[in-house]
Symmetry: C2
Subunit: 470 residues, 2 copies
């Protein structure tokens, strides 16, 4: 009798789990099918990239993008769509930069550069000086003032090709770009040229942010990125003759802060309206391309998450917000503003997912969360297998959602295939044609699936709400 | 005492397994690092694509590719490099095809088509007829001779967008292209136009093989592919007016068979020289692009497998061959010839791996093998995890290696990310610029790793040679 009862209980439990699992499988199937057959993300990206174009903070493009995405979110019939004001820095590139290597008076080789975001201009007639090439700040220190003063410092440490995840290679190089001017100015350098953060050899310079933090205005030096081909050329020429000179001219400047906005849309939760789950990307981009991968893709995927939830008949228990952050690239003002206002209002953000790693085939997510939540995620792995989503690791989430971190909430970042990302990142070829429709749509569906599961099972699972086991 | 002995044994076993596993991990690391930092595949592909170009069987390009790859294999210092003669069909496209939709006499819309490989020409002045659109052969049968005779049959079943693996979508459509002419000619159709096998909407027609098998010469009808955009245009126009006409002109023809070659290189095994393991791709390509993804990528990756083994200090126990097959696209003569000669000579092929699914980021392999071998593969999964290789499934291998199947051997196919593949497959944009160097190199390394493991542990594992457990 006791055995029979146990067996019955077991049977019921299995049946319950099976129904539950079946339902999740069906819902994920519905989400992916809807995204791949009726997805809106590619159309939105087409408009953002080809009708609006680049969206540097404070630019006309950024302003248009705010208006466009707000209007498109309104069409989705969300419960609420609004703008959150945020003051953003406004840096402008000015005239196209110009640079050459001078091997002897009058003998010059033109090279491809661009100013780094936040850099000051060179003198109006440009800047010409001898060059000292280094790979690390330690080398710079060892060379000292006597070898650096009055020269241009050329940072030429390449991205490490044998790292499988290209973001790791980026992480190992980007201090040259971000802090290179600070370090070089300590030793009296007059300018900085940085090898582009690009794993490929090509002719495109890649911009990106840099800082003068702590450097007095009169000691700030102009900084530019040089294409990988030209970095190799410059390095080779320096080996042949260390007395060659480098000339560059750029007319960029930092203007006054201007008013801009985060764009926010919300589906209000049916059971726990005061628990917030957000998905987002950043609406601003660099100015050289049209910002299709960085981060037009994340913007339109995040918008489509809310549409896909509705189209798949999912009525979330928690309030789901899409947040299109302004000014990730050169200030993070949008991300900081959103988090501080959330804190001020006492809004409980239990989950935040960012897509800011390109619109390539999604492989999974990285998570910034406690073990309980991470184990919960791992139990969902089988649900994602049909969609070839296999990467679930602890690690970073996204720059914009980072400030929302608490001890118990879950932050996550979509992790697309990263091999091609730095071919386009911050360069003039970050354009719409480099985005594949299906890859973008698979990303939107994968994000929606994770939001659906976290909304259904909750962020701190309790025993009677245990998700299906792996 | 007994306990102590068991503990000692267990300890030794663990230490042994740990050393063994450590070794495999290190060797895989070496292979991937070598491929990503000193890989030759991208340079070889550059030559094959940009110096030689398309390589349709029997063409000058194919002849040059045989000579080039043979010479490059010779440079690797293999134990043996040779050509295996094989007679191949020779189909030539002739002048560029021309087609339009005629809505009224003199009112025409030009559309983009290309002849299907193996098709006959239209009459010299072209062919103009009314059009009947169908999605399936069943629809064709239901329409019958009365509705089809004298008309052009337009096959317009699109690739299914909600299938995650694009090869599944291809499999669900390709009978329209391959057998469309046979089916249409049964009902007196005068020509065939097939929607290109492409998931994307664009203006490029995609060629590919078709057959007249069993159709008398006088009943054969010309067949062409139309771009996806123009397929949609034609379909819309037919809805507006079913009396519109379609005109097309193509001058392709089948010439006599010519002599060509499989290109083969070998590292002779140190312990079991009579057990053969092969890696390969196909050297021929269609003629519209330069065949970079299909299958230049597979060719250069396979060549690099043997170089990577040597460069990583691996001395294989079994004989490892690279086989560059001729004529996969329109005849499979190379694959059949290789298998029949192997059989004739009594060569024991224990393993064969083909790369013929594009040079995109590798995700894993599909296997055609028994359960014992498949379980062995699954035990290696953790070794591949650092390289984001996660896909190990039973399924097809490759067209060229298929004829080598025995009851006990292992056939495998590299499975790269498939989302972009059919954007390029058999079209004029299957070109070098669509291949990413790192993605190509990761594929070569992944193939090498599998070859290394199967060579080390053997294809039918015995108990004292058990690989590390998952």
């Amino acid at each position: 009798m006791k055995f029979l009862k146990s067996a019955c209980l077991l049977f019921s439990l299995l049946a319950f789990l099976s129904v539950k699992s079946q339902t999740d499988e069906n819902i994920l199937k519905k989400i992916y099918t809807e995204s791949l057959t009726n997805g809106k993300s590619y159309d939105w990206l087409n408009h953002l990239s080809n009708q609006i174009g680049s969206r540097l903070s404070g630019s006309l493009g950024a302003e248009k993008a705010v208006a466009y995405t707000k209007a498109e979110l309104k069409k989705l019939g969300l419960d609420k769509v609004w703008l959150q004001p945020v003051l953003v820095p406004r840096w402008v590139r000015g005239a196209k930069e110009f640079a050459f290597i001078e091997t002897a008076p009058g003998k010059t080789n033109k090279v491809n550069i661009c100013a780094l975001g936040g850099s000051i201009a060179t003198p109006a007639l440009g800047l010409k000086a001898k060059v000292v090439e280094v790979k690390t700040f330690e080398e710079l220190e060892a060379l000292g003032k006597e070898n650096i003063e009055g020269k241009i410092v050329f940072y030429n440490r390449p991205m490490q090709a044998d790292l499988i995840q290209t973001f790791d290679a980026y992480g190992g190089c980007v201090n040259q770009r971000y802090q290179g001017a600070i370090e070089a100015s300590k030793y009296g350098a007059v300018g900085v040229v940085v090898r582009s953060m690009n794993l490929r050899l090509d002719d495109l310079p890649h911009t990106g942010s840099m800082t003068y933090e702590g450097v007095a205005v009169e000691n700030r030096i102009p900084s530019a990125a040089i294409s990988t081909n030209d970095a190799n050329l410059l390095s080779t020429m320096l080996q042949l003759d260390s007395n060659i000179k480098f000339y560059f001219k750029q007319s960029c400047k930092q203007l006054k802060d201007v008013l801009s906005y985060n764009v926010i849309g919300q589906i209000t939760g049916s059971e726990y309206p005061n628990e917030y789950m957000i998905v987002g990307g950043h609406l601003d981009s660099w100015d050289l391309g049209d910002g299709s991968h960085d981060d037009g893709a994340g913007v339109v995927q995040s918008m489509d998450v809310l549409r896909l939830l509705k189209a798949s008949g999912i009525k979330p228990k928690r309030s789901i917000r899409v947040v299109l952050f302004m000014n990730e690239e050169n200030g993070l003002r949008g991300g900081n503003k959103y988090a501080s206002e959330a804190k001020q209002k006492g809004e409980n953000h239990v989950f935040a997912l960012e897509s800011d790693a390109g619109g390539f085939t999604p492989r999974g997510f990285s998570f910034d969360c406690n073990d309980a939540s991470f184990n919960q995620v791992l139990s969902w792995k089988p649900l994602f297998k049909p969609y070839l989503i296999h990467y679930f690791e602890k690690g970073g989430s996204g720059a914009d959602v980072g400030p929302l971190k608490t001890e118990t909430n879950v932050l996550a970042g979509l992790r697309p295939d990263s091999q091609r990302y730095f071919d386009h990142h911050h360069a003039s070829n970050d354009t719409f044609d480099a985005v594949n429709k299906r890859e973008l749509e698979l990303g939107a569906a994968t994000m929606t699936a994770l939001v659906y599961l976290f909304d259904k099972y909750g962020v701190n699972p309790i025993s009677n709400n245990t998700p299906i086991k792996n």
